[in-house]
Symmetry: D2
Subunit: 371 residues, 4 copies
C-alpha cells in the first residue's frame, strides 16, 4: 500500500506541506482506549522545530480528532486526526521550481508524478507530514503503555559525538527522555552535539546522526519467520522516515565483525523467565521477539536543505545550474526525528500485537468494565 | 502476510528443513517470459554448501516446476517450484530438543507455536528454506534482465577483511560475480577471507560479514513516498534473510557522520539524462529511485551454530544447561547468503515495477509476438 | 483491511453520522487527472435525501478536497475529501440508546465495540458515510471516463414494480440516468414506484428494490482466475453498501434455472472484435472481463428505520422491549443507493485497471503533455 | 492478491488441470490443531465426480501434506497440500485450441495471458483446482469445529426442483448432509433432481442450481462495518467458485420485495441471549455477525461444457466457427460445488476469527496442554 501501513492496525497518511492540512487515519485500534490528548500535543511538541537549532518556521500543530473518539475513548472505528498548515510561505519555493534540490525528493517526485506533484516545500514528501505520523503514533504509544510496553529513543550520535548507552535502569533512562526536546542520556554529550549543530548552521551546512531505540515489555513470540519478521516490519516502517538511510538491530553491523561465540546471546533462567545474558540480537531471534528488550538504531542523514550553493540541473532548460536555497531550514533534524521513530515503532508493534492476540487486546482491561 | 511477500508479484514460501520438501509459489509474474531452468540450477548451486568452508550436508537441490510454466514460458498463473529434501538427518537434533540454541529461533519458535513447531534442524526457520527463495528469485532475476535491470552482490567484508568497492565498469564487475561461489571483486581479499573462515572453523567457531548490492538499469520514479519507499520494501524483504541484522542504503550509517554539503549528491546533465556526481543516497531520494544505481549493504551475523560449548536453558526442567552442538554446520554463510540477497532484491523490484507499469511489463517484448 | 479497500488504488473511509465530519482518502490514482469538482457536487446531490420520498434531514454536502489536488489536477498522492456534518440532531437518538433497532447495526456494533461505539444516528455504520464514498467515487468515475469506460445504474425494481431493461442504445439510456435523482429508464415505472413509496411512508413503513448496473468500455482481460475474480472484487465492494443483501451477475440466480445450451453466450466476430450474442454471464467469464458490457444487480432491503412499533430488547435491563422510532427516516433508499453503487463500481474497476496496466494508465493521455 | 485470499489466515492456490499437480498453501492457521486426514479425504470424495450424473474422468485425489504438519498437529507454519493429477487426457483438448468454449474462460484467459496460458482442460481455470481448495477447506472446517462452529450446505434448487428449507433442528439436518454426495434435506427432491440431470445429460445438455449454506455457532461481533463486511468477505470468496453467478444473504433478493416491517428481524431475550425471531438478514447486521445462524445462497450456473454444437469463433482465422465438444463433462456440478462452498466459507470465517481473536484462538484448547 502506498501511503498506508499495517495489516490489522493500519495508518494512512495524507497531506502536503503547503496544502490546507495534514492528516492521519488510524484504523483497527482496540475500542475503549482512554485517550490523553495532552500526550498527543506533547509528542507533537517534541517533533516541532524549536530553539536555536531549528528552522524558523513556526508550527502551532493544533490538531483535531474528527472521528473514532467518543466520550474520551477510542471507538474501534477509524480515528482521524487533522493538523492544519498555518504558516506556509509558498512564495519561497516557486522561484526554484525547475531546480531540484540535491538530496531531496524533488527530482524523483517529478519522475514519478510527471510534474503534477505539489512541489511547494516538498509537498507530500515534506518532513512536515511526520506531524500526522507523530499524532497517530501518540495514540499507539498510549495503547502500548496500557499493556506495559514502553518505547524510548535517544540521539546516540550526532556530528560525531556519542551519547552514553542505555543503562541497566531502563525506567530511569526512559524518564530522562520522556519530555526532552533534545533526547540524550548524557547531558554533556547533548550540549556538545548542540554546539556542533550550531557550528554547522553558521557554515550554512547541516549534520546527521544516529537514533537508538529500546522497547521494553514486549512479550516473546511476536513476529513471523519469513517476510513479516519483526526486523522486516520495523525496518519497513522506519525507512519511511525521511532521512533514515540505515537500520540495524542489536549489535547490527558490528555483529558482522564478531565470531559466533561472541555474538550468540547465552540463555539463562532468571527465576521462571528465560533471558539472555547479552542482547546482541536486539531481542529478536528468527524474526520473533524473545522477551528481551528490542534494541535498534536508525542512521539519519544530514538535512539536505543547506544554504551553501549547490550544483543541480534546470529541468526546463535541460542544463546544469546552481542552486542557492533560501527559506527556513533545520541544520539538524535527528533530534526531531526521535519522536517519529517512536511513533513508527509503536504503530508497527500495535499491528503485530493485534494480529497475534486479537483486535481487542491493546485495551482489553479498560474495555471489560463498560456499560 | 506471514510467509508471503509482495503486492502485485507475490512469493509464498513453505516447508521445513526435515520435511519432505520445500517450495515457493510465485504469483503475478508476467506471462510469456521464456524461462532458463539452467539458470535456476546455477543460482541454487551458488547457495548450496560446498567446499572446505561449508557444512558437510549435501543438498542436490533438484527442483521441479509444477505449475505456471507451459511450453517453456511463464503462463502468468502461479509458478510453483518444489525442492525435495534428500539428506536430512533428523537424529542429530532430537537429543537437544529441550535446549534452545543461542542465536537461533528455537526458543522464539517455541514461544510462538507453543511446542507444536517442527523443531528438527530449525524446521521452517532453517536457512534451508532459502533454497526455495533462491529458485523463485532466479525467475525474478530473469524477468528483470529482459528489461535491462541487473543485480550484483559481493562479500564486501568478512572476518574483518574488506573487498574492494564496485568500480566504474559495473558490467565487468558483475561478470566477475556471476558464477562465483565466493563472490568478491578482489581475489586476494577473497582468499584472505576464506583463510579466516577456516581459522574460525578450526576453533569450532564462525564468522559473519557484509554483503553489498548494486542494481543497474532501474528506471527513475519507482517507489512510494511513505511506507512503501524503495528502502522500506527492500529492507522488509532483506531482513527476512536469516542472519541479516542491518541494512543500509548508499553511504548509510556513514552518511550520518557527514555534513549536508558532503552528503548531498549534486545533479548534472549527462547528455539528456539527469545524473548525480556522487551516489551517497544509493540511488533513492524520498523513497523513489532516481535512475542512478541502487546501492545497499546487509550485515550478516556469524553463523549461530558453533561447536564450542554454550550456555542455554533446559526448557523441560526450567534450569540452566550446557549445549554442545554436533551435526554439520557452516563456519560462515555470508557468501552463501549473497544469492539470497539477489533473489529477495529481484522479487521486491519485480513487484514494484509490476505495480508501476502493469502486470505485463516485465515480459512485454516477448509477449507481443505470441500466437 | 477494515475500512479500506483496494490494492493499487485504495479508498479509506472515516467518520460518524454525528461527528464533525466524514471523509475519504483515495490513494494510488494516476497523477494528472483534471478534476471537475462540479461533478462531485452533482453526484453528492444524487445521493442526498430530497423531495417527498426522503428523510427531512437536510445535508448541504459541502465538501473540501484537502490533499492530492494541485492546480486542478490529481497529484498522484493521497486525495482527501472532507464533508462536514452540519445538521445532526443528536438528541433524537439518546433516548433509545439501550434499544437496538431491528435490522440496524446497533446490536452488532455493541457486540463488536463493547459499548464504546459512537451510537448516535448509527455512528460509523450510518448510511451518511456513503457521502464520502460517493465523493471519492466521483473522482474514480471521472478517471474511468477519460478511458472511455462508463457506468450506469437504474432502479430495476422497487416495491414490486419493474423498470424496463437497458436497451440496445446504451448511451441514450445512460444519458437518461445521468442527472436523474430517481433513476429509471421508463418514466411511468418511476412514477409508479414513487407512488408506492409514498404509500409505504403513509403506513410508517418502507420499501426496498433492486439496482441494475451496466459498465461499458471495459477492456477484455481484467480480473483474476481465483479469489480476485471481477465478480468477487465487485461483490466485496458492493456488499459494503448498507442494505445490499444480494449481488448477481448477468442472468444471476435466473441463470441457475437454465440449461447450459440456453445459458452459454455464443461467440461471433463483429468485424475484428470477438463478441457474444447474448450476455447471460454479465461480461465476465472465469472471473475475467470478456469485453462485453458488465451487467449486475444488487438487492437493496427496505430501510430498516420505520415508524411502526417494533419488538426489541433493552440491553441495560436484559428484557424484551418495544421501540417506536422518531427522527427523520427514508421510506426508501434504493434510488439514493444508485450513486453509491456507481461509486463502488468505479473504485473497484480503477483498482483492477491500475493493477493490470500500471498506475499511470487512467490519466495517461493527460499526463503526457505536462511541463 | 491474485490467487491468494485472506489477511491473517491465507490460502494460496496453484496448479493446472493437466499439469503434474495442484496444490494449496494454507498459512496463519493456529498451531496445535489435531488434524484428521481421513476427513480431508472424505471431503475430497464429496467433490469428486462419481456415479451416473458426473464426468467419466476418474480422480483418485490422493493428497500429500508436505509442510506445516508435525506429529499429527498443525505447526502454525504454512500447511501445504499437494494433489497429483493422474488421469489427464491432454489430447482431448488440443484439436479445439483455437475455438474458445462458450461460457468458459478460454477466451478471457487468452486476452489476459496473450496465449501463454496452459489451455489444456481449462488450465488454471479448471474446476479441478477446487480439489486443492477443498483439501485446504477441510483443514479450516476442522479448526472451526473445535470452536463449535459448523457449516452445512444443501442443494436448495436444481433444474427447477426445490429441496425443503433447513428445519429447526440444525444438527439433524447437518448430519443428513455430512457424507452425502448429493446433499439434499428431502430425499425425494434429490431423486427428482438427479432424474432431471439425467434427462439433460441425455440431451447433451446441462443444468444448474442454487446452494444454500447455514453456519452455526459463530459468535456475534465478527466482521467490519465497511468493505470487510462479513457479506463482502464471504461473497468475495464464493464468487471464486467457478459457475457461481449470484450470492444472497438471508432473504436476499426476496428481501427487496418486502416492506421494512416484514423484513426487520425483531430482537428478543432468549434467557440471557439476544436473538431475533426471524432471520431475514441471514445473521448479519451492518456487516457484522449477530449470533444468529448465517444463511446464504449461491446461484450456480449450468455446466458450460455441453455436447450440443455451439457457435464460437476461430481465434487463429478470425472467423465464426462451430464447436462440438468431446471429452468428459458433467451434466451438473451444483452438487459437487457444495463442498467447495463449505470450504470457502470455512476459510473466510477462520480468517475473520483469527483477526478478531488472535492467531491462536482456533486451536487454543488443544494448544494449552502441550509439552
Amino acid at each position: 500500500m502506498k501511503n498506508s501501513f499495517g495489516t490489522s492496525v493500519t495508518l494512512t497518511l495524507f497531506g502536503e506541506s503547503h496544502g490546507p492540512m495534514l492528516g492521519a487515519v488510524l484504523d483497527g485500534l482496540a475500542p475503549g482506549l482512554e485517550l490523553d490528548e495532552g500526550f498527543i500535543a506533547r509528542q507533537l511538541g517534541l517533533r516541532r522545530p524549536a530553539g536555536r537549532i531549528s528552522t524558523a518556521r513556526r508550527e502551532a500543530d493544533e490538531f483535531q480528532i474528527v472521528s473514532g473518539l467518543f466520550e474520551g475513548h477510542t471507538t474501534g472505528t477509524p480515528l482521524t486526526i487533522l493538523i492544519p498548515n498555518a504558516d506556509a510561505r509558498s512564495r519561497d519555493y516557486a522561484a526554484t521550481r525547475a531546480l531540484p534540490r540535491p538530496g531531496h525528493a524533488d527530482y524523483t517526485a517529478y519522475m514519478k508524478y510527471h510534474g503534477f506533484e505539489d512541489y511547494r516545500g516538498g509537498g507530500h514528501f515534506s518532513g512536515r507530514v511526520t506531524a500526522a505520523l507523530v499524532a497517530a503514533g501518540a495514540v499507539c504509544i498510549q495503547a502500548l503503555r496500557t499493556r506495559g510496553i514502553w518505547i524510548g529513543t535517544h540521539v546516540a550520535r550526532c556530528a560525531g559525538i556519542a551519547d552514553r548507552d542505555f543503562g541497566a535502569d531502563w525506567k530511569a533512562d526512559f524518564a530522562l527522555l520522556e519530555n526532552e526536546a533534545f533526547a540524550v542520556l548524557d547531558p554533556a554529550a547533548g550540549e556538545a552535539m548542540r554546539t556542533a549543530i550550531e557550528a554547522a548552521a553558521r557554515d550554512g551546512d547541516s549534520v546527521g546522526g544516529v537514533l537508538e531505540t529500546a522497547v521494553l515489555g514486549l512479550p516473546a513470540g511476536v513476529g513471523e519467520p519469513w517476510f513479516d519478521t519483526l526486523e522486516g516490519l520495523l525496518a519497513h516502517g522506519l525507512f519511511s522516515i525521511p532521512a533514515v538511510k540505515g537500520v540495524e538491530f542489536g549489535a547490527g553491523f558490528g555483529l558482522s565483525e564478531l565470531r559466533g561465540s561472541a555474538a550468540n546471546d547465552a540463555f539463562f533462567m532468571d527465576g521462571d523467565t528465560v533471558r539472555t545474558r547479552t542482547n546482541h540480537n536486539g531481542g529478536i531471534n528468527g524474526g520473533i521477539s524473545n522477551g528481551m528488550p528490542l534494541l535498534y538504531r536508525c542512521a539519519v542523514k544530514p538535512t539536505p536543505s543547506i544554504y551553501k550553493t549547490q550544483q543541480t540541473v534546470d529541468m526546463l532548460r535541460g542544463t546544469d545550474a546552481e542552486l542557492s536555497l533560501r527559506g527556513r531550514h533545520d541544520p539538524a533534524i535527528v533530534h526531531r526525528a526521535r519522536v517519529v521513530v517512536d511513533s513508527v515503532s509503536a504503530l508497527v508493534l500495535c499491528d503485530a500485537l493485534a494480529l497475534r492476540y486479537g483486535t481487542d487486546w491493546l485495551a482489553r482491561q479498560e474495555a471489560e468494565g463498560r456499560r
